[in-house]
């Protein structure tokens, strides 16, 4: 956490210099006549070399946001409103062909389960070189091989030229996730979307993978969007954190400020539910109730039914993200009060 606050980009980047800038993103799933809104009014940006943690419960829309960014929303899901800019260039309205050119080249992806992310029937070398040559068609196969071995070394695989010829099943889970990261780096992307990259790994391996991601962000100046439900992971590596609840961004800010001085009641509840190391609590704090299912979101602030501080205004009006203390929060407590 100390490094996060010491790092200069803990403040949001200027829109002009941001690697990724998302404004008012809304994703819908048209089902029969109705359109289910899965995420709405999501805005954030990530600067060069910055790690933005995106945290929230299952179904809050974090992974969906990631899929939308790499243009891999599963049908019938679609972007219904908002814009996505990559290094100042609008990418959400590009035709599929153009979008594919970005995928893997300018935006890399890392998925949750390294055991199932690699094709079991091809050597890791083959999977690396085919990715490299897709993005750098001018490279000869010998050059691609050389580059693949360098990438394997960069992500911490020992004896890369031997490992190059091995199949995924010959690697441990942690090693496979390193290979997945090498594959994500193959196109030299400006942005990496890491969707729960450590969830399927042992705790000791988690720390290694997180350290690797952090190192890559620093040395390559790559922007990383780290999707997770684990606040510990966020605190470990992220510079800033975005908290999602029921398809909306409820709070965003530097990690330390969000962790210590949360301005949204949901974030505050999340932080309170982390067991303290210093003493054994009688009972773990929790937020009562559970997140509503997709399609049955309440009107107004989607959190109001579970919120202890909700007032009449929360039931009718929908708050938007606005500066609140050291962070930005979408809560009327900081926007003129909850009374209608």
């Amino acid at each position: 956490m100390t490094s996060a606050s010491a790092f200069a980009t803990a403040r949001p980047p200027e829109p002009a210099t941001a690697v990724l800038d998302v404004r008012g993103l809304r994703i819908e799933f048209p089902i029969r006549a109705k359109a289910l809104v899965a995420i709405d009014a999501v805005s954030f940006s990530i600067g060069r070399g910055e790690i933005l943690g995106v945290v929230g419960e299952s179904g809050a829309g974090k992974s969906l946001t990631g899929s939308a960014l790499i243009g891999l929303l599963e049908a019938p899901g679609r972007i219904a409103a908002g814009t996505i800019h990559l290094a100042g260039e609008r990418i959400d309205n590009l035709p599929e062909k153009e979008q594919r050119r970005l995928r893997g080249k300018r935006i890399g992806a890392i998925f949750q389960d390294p055991l199932t992310s690699l094709d079991p029937l091809f050597t890791v070398g083959r999977q690396l070189t085919e990715t490299i040559r897709t993005h750098f068609p001018a490279m000869s196969s010998a050059q691609a091989r050389q580059r693949a071995i360098e990438l394997l070394a960069e992500v911490g695989i020992a004896d890369p030229s031997t490992r190059f010829n091995q199949y995924p099943h010959q690697f441990s889970g942690g090693m496979r996730q390193r290979i997945v990261i090498a594959l994500a780096l193959a196109g030299e992307p400006e942005l990496i979307i890491a969707d729960e990259p450590t969830t399927a790994l042992d705790v000791s391996i988690q720390a290694q993978i997180l350290a690797l991601l952090k190192r890559l962000a620093r040395t390559r100046d790559t922007a990383i969007m780290l999707v997770t439900h684990d606040m510990g992971v966020i605190a470990e590596v992220a510079d800033r954190v975005a908290v999602m609840y029921a398809g909306r961004l409820v709070e965003i800010g530097p990690v330390e400020d969000v962790v210590r001085r949360a301005n949204h009641p949901y974030t505050a509840g999340l932080m309170a539910s982390i067991p303290p190391l210093s003493r054994q609590p009688e009972r773990l704090a929790q937020i009562s109730g559970s997140m509503p299912r997709l399609g049955s979101w309440p009107t107004g602030c989607t959190f109001h039914p579970r919120c202890t501080k909700a007032g009449p205004r929360c039931r009718t009006e929908t708050p938007v993200l606005k500066p609140a203390g050291d962070t930005e929060a979408s809560c009327f407590l900081h926007q003129g009060g909850v009374e209608g």
Partner: protein, 321 residues
Amino acid sequence: MISLLATRLTSVVLVMLVVSGLSFCVFNFLGDPVNNILGVNATLEQREELRVALGLDQPTIVQFWRFVERAAVGDFGVSYRNRQPVIDLMLVRLPATLELVLAATLTALLVGIPMGIYTALRPRGLLSRVVQLVSLLGISMPQFLIGMLLILVFSVELRWLSAFGRGETVQIGWWTTGLLTTSGLKALIMPTITLAVFQISMIMRLVRGEMLEVFRADFIKFTRARGLSDRAVYLTHALRNSLLPVITVVGLQVGSLIAFAIVVEAVFQWPGMGLLILQAIEFADFPVMAAYLAFVGFSFVTINLIVDMTYLLVDPRMRVK
């Protein structure tokens, strides 16, 4: 890998011993071979002489061993009906059946796999729906009916193709082939289609189902996230991963094609082993039946061995351990 091969070969030998046992039972215990060979009017001396000559006075286990020994070098005795060595009868008929089965297998693979890929990639396309519907017909229609319909249309009505036989054949060593003459190739068309229709439909449905399954796999999503072209995603990664179960089923199907060939050969009067075995059954020609049994068993075992070896080629996970 060597040990795997060794285990497989051991099981091949065991299976073949069991099959020989069955085939030996058919030969020795169905009817009386002495009666079958000499007829009912032979004298007691003649009978006893033949009994000794055939080794029927020996204990059963000794008889079985001698049967296996002879079968191993292709000696299945003499056909009761034709008075010729069974192996000669079989060898004359073998090329016709094998060429038919080979043609049907290739047709099934070359048509079934691409159709399976297409219907998996465009599950809602009009052509896919038509193909799916037709394949349902292909799976449910009995073979002899397909054969007779083909004959009715192309031989009786249009008079394009001959309804029976192999056409002209060319002799290469002991192998007679119909693949080198126009009439031979033309004669192959209808029996091949008849034999292949079911397999095409099944392979198509299998490839389609497997590919749709693989499309949902995480690594396919990741392959797309790596920015690979659709072609690489579908034809390199998805297809290869879909092929393992296809190989298994195709292996089993080639075996059953040899068996199904009996019906097709009967419909088209194709001079292969199926026709031979039908005639043998009619005349209670037990040596031929025993030899055919051993042949079908041997074919299945060999094909299974090839399938297992193909697994090793396709799936690296099978190669270790």
